[in-house]
């Protein structure tokens, strides 16, 4: 009896599914299931050390919003860090991209220079900065002393610690956003800018009225990526300040780690992680919906 073969469309379909199966299975086991497990943990009082647990319903969330003395400070710190990072990072990346996207001599060297911190080990990067930011012996304050300025305790004062962490992270990652924006700038039709110049527009007007609107989708993408990364900041906080001084740099991701692995409250830490997930999701959703208002050009 002749075997019936599958129609070609079904075969194509099957082939497509087989190609994405490894990625999809990996996503299920290593992303989706752990996320769902964390949500389930958030409704438990779970002992990290012994693995014992019991259902406590919404008690973790109730404690978070009504009794945790640090929660609202942590959220404020996280939002301050995120917005500070986005504003500094994106504006600096755009500035650098506008200068370096042109094909002139030396541009490749400077693009490499600004991108090199991106590929540097975070631990090495932070270690070097922790030496540079020492209040007495650090390079920054030694230089300021030469010009007659008494530098602050960059990592030891509540007023400067958050700014210092934001600055270090901006310099580490701005190169990545710069490269993305350079790619977008190269796609801007040159004749549009030429036409604007013919009509009498100066450089600033060309940037504001032509170039930025044309690359607005990419700017939105950069902001979203930077926002997601900033809300998950952990390594810089852990290595530089451990949340101090006086919890001024205690952000949500580090607080989740602290609750989970230092106080062993894995259930409560899971509830905090769920809140972090919802905050990032909410902010991303908000930005995505606001694109209709300020992204002028979408392909």
């Amino acid at each position: 009896m002749k075997r019936k073969s599958l129609p070609q469309a079904k075969l194509d379909n099957l082939a497509g599914h087989l190609f994405i199966a490894p990625q999809f299975i990996g996503f299920i086991f290593f992303v989706a299931v752990p996320i769902l497990a964390v949500i389930i943990f958030s409704f438990q009082d779970r002992n990290l050390l012994t693995g014992t647990w019991e259902w406590i319903g919404f008690d973790n969330y109730s404690f978070m919003f009504t009794k945790d003395p640090y929660f609202y400070k942590v959220v404020r710190n996280s939002l301050f860090f995120s917005f500070g990072l986005i504003i500094m990072n994106v504006s600096l990346a755009l500035f650098l991209a506008l200068i370096l996207f042109q094909n002139r001599k030396g541009m490749v060297f400077f693009r490499t220079l600004f991108f090199s911190p991106v590929v540097t080990s975070t631990v090495a990067w932070v270690l070097v900065w922790s030496f540079m930011l020492q209040s007495d012996q650090g390079t920054i304050n030694q230089f300021l002393k030469l010009i007659g300025i008494q530098g602050p305790s960059w990592l030891g004062s509540t007023g400067w610690a958050m700014f210092s962490v934001i600055f270090i992270r901006v310099i580490k990652n701005v190169g990545l956003n710069m490269i993305i924006l350079i790619a977008a700038l190269k796609d801007v039709p040159h004749d549009l800018v030429e036409a604007a110049r013919v009509d009498g527009a100066n450089t600033l007007q060309c940037i504001r009225k032509i170039i930025i609107p044309m690359i607005a989708p990419t700017i939105l993408l950069v902001i979203i990526i930077t926002l997601i990364g900033s809300m998950n900041v952990f390594d810089h906080i852990m290595l530089l300040t451990a949340g101090g001084p006086s919890n001024s740099t205690l952000v949500l991701a580090y607080y989740v780690y602290y609750q989970a692995f230092l106080t062993n409250e894995i259930g409560y830490a899971s509830a905090l992680a769920v809140v972090l997930f919802l905050v990032v999701l909410g902010l991303t959703f908000l930005q995505w919906n606001m694109r209709k208002k300020w992204v002028y050009y979408e392909q």
């Binding site: 299920i28 086991f29 989706a32 299931v33 752990p34 769902l36 497990a37 949500i39 389930i40 943990f41 438990q44 009082d45 779970r46 002992n47 990290l48 050390l49 012994t50 693995g51 014992t52 647990w53 019991e54 003395p69 640090y70 922790s130 030496f131 930011l133 020492q134 209040s135 007495d136 012996q137 305790s153 960059w154 990592l155 030891g156 004062s157 509540t158 451990a242 949340g243 101090g244 001084p245 006086s246 919890n247 780690y257 602290y258 989970a260 692995f261 230092l262 106080t263 062993n264 894995i266």
Partner: protein, 440 residues
Amino acid sequence: MKKNKLFLVFAAMIVMAMIFSACGSDADTVAAEPADGSTTEEVSNEPVNIKFTLWGSDAHIALLTEISEAYRETHPNVTFEFVGIPVTDYVSKLAVQLAGNDQPDMGWMLESPALGWEDAGALVDLAPYLADDADFNLTDFSESSLSLWTQGDALYGIPFSTSPMFIAYNADLFEAAGLDTPSESFAKGEWTWEKFAEDAKAITDLGDGSIGYVHIDEISTNPWRLLVPVMEAYGGGSWNADGSTCLMNTDESVEAATLIHDMLYIDNSIVKPNEKVDFTSGTVGMTMRQLSWLSSLADVTFNWDFAPLPSGPDGTKPIVGQAAVVVFNASPNQAAAIDFLKFLLNEENSAKLSQFFPQARASVLDAGSIEATNPTLNPESIQTAIIDQIKNGTVLPSHVEYSKIDLAVRAELDKLWTSGADIAAIMNSACDAMAPYLNQ
């Protein structure tokens, strides 16, 4: 059809997540017996790999490896994996390993989180296995040395290090400043915290980049080790013996904190928080350390020695750091781990460990055993700064809610590390921050 498929995928994910989250036992079914159900008489002959976590140096790991090789002569089926974890991350990484089912079988445990781990049921009760073991001879350990690891009739750890804190000093800098060394001041009965502050200032005033004192850890992340010895000597402290009352806002504790603050911001004789200066650089007069650290001075080019902690208005209050060997309840090899613990901390091997760690065993604790294994150390310093201090030493503070107290109090103590701080107000705030956890 597509919606049905999506529903099935999502339902499968929920089921997998619930199976995953059900891993671990229900709160009512914590095992009270060793996981493998064996007793010390029934140590298995099956191949066993014991994972042992510690924060030690390469020299410490080498010594433990040597001891484990001797154990393997009579237990060839047992292999060992010694996992070194930096002490600053030790507790959190241990917790991560336990949570990730990559649990160690046994390892070292610090004094500060000890009560919390005991209370959580993470450690095996060793009493049934050791109390009647004549070879191990538990009575060789004093009650005070075991007090931190004892809860009722249960015994959760055996100390391998009961190590007094002392002041290690750069003798060359003291000579350059025209000062008696701390050992000489101690011999004259003049070694007080005020003398300590004066000496630190004199060394700083040499003006050649030298500074009086550098702390063992980053001050802002571990202020306890700097403040507790001084507060205790002044008659104050962190909290009382049963952990129910804060002592940081007593006049004595405030006076002690004021001494340290003045050294930092008036005399400028202590390396400030976030500054990175090492004692081995030869530019620092003094540091507060323990015996196991002294091996790192092997290659320094200056003369050094060590002396007991200074005394205060409330007398001499030695402070002891203690660490124990524990067996984790999550271990699938508890019987084998307990058997190795008995071997590791028997009299013979305790004598070997004493080259780095002052032992709690009375039969081993004498200057001779430390001197024999540390021929470069001054025997008189060993006697005065280590042996004589252990007997009356107070272990560094521990509490069931230590990690929560630490988070709460450090946020207040961070305000101490600025010039012009209102010390009494800050110490009061520290007690207020600690209060919710003290009555647990």
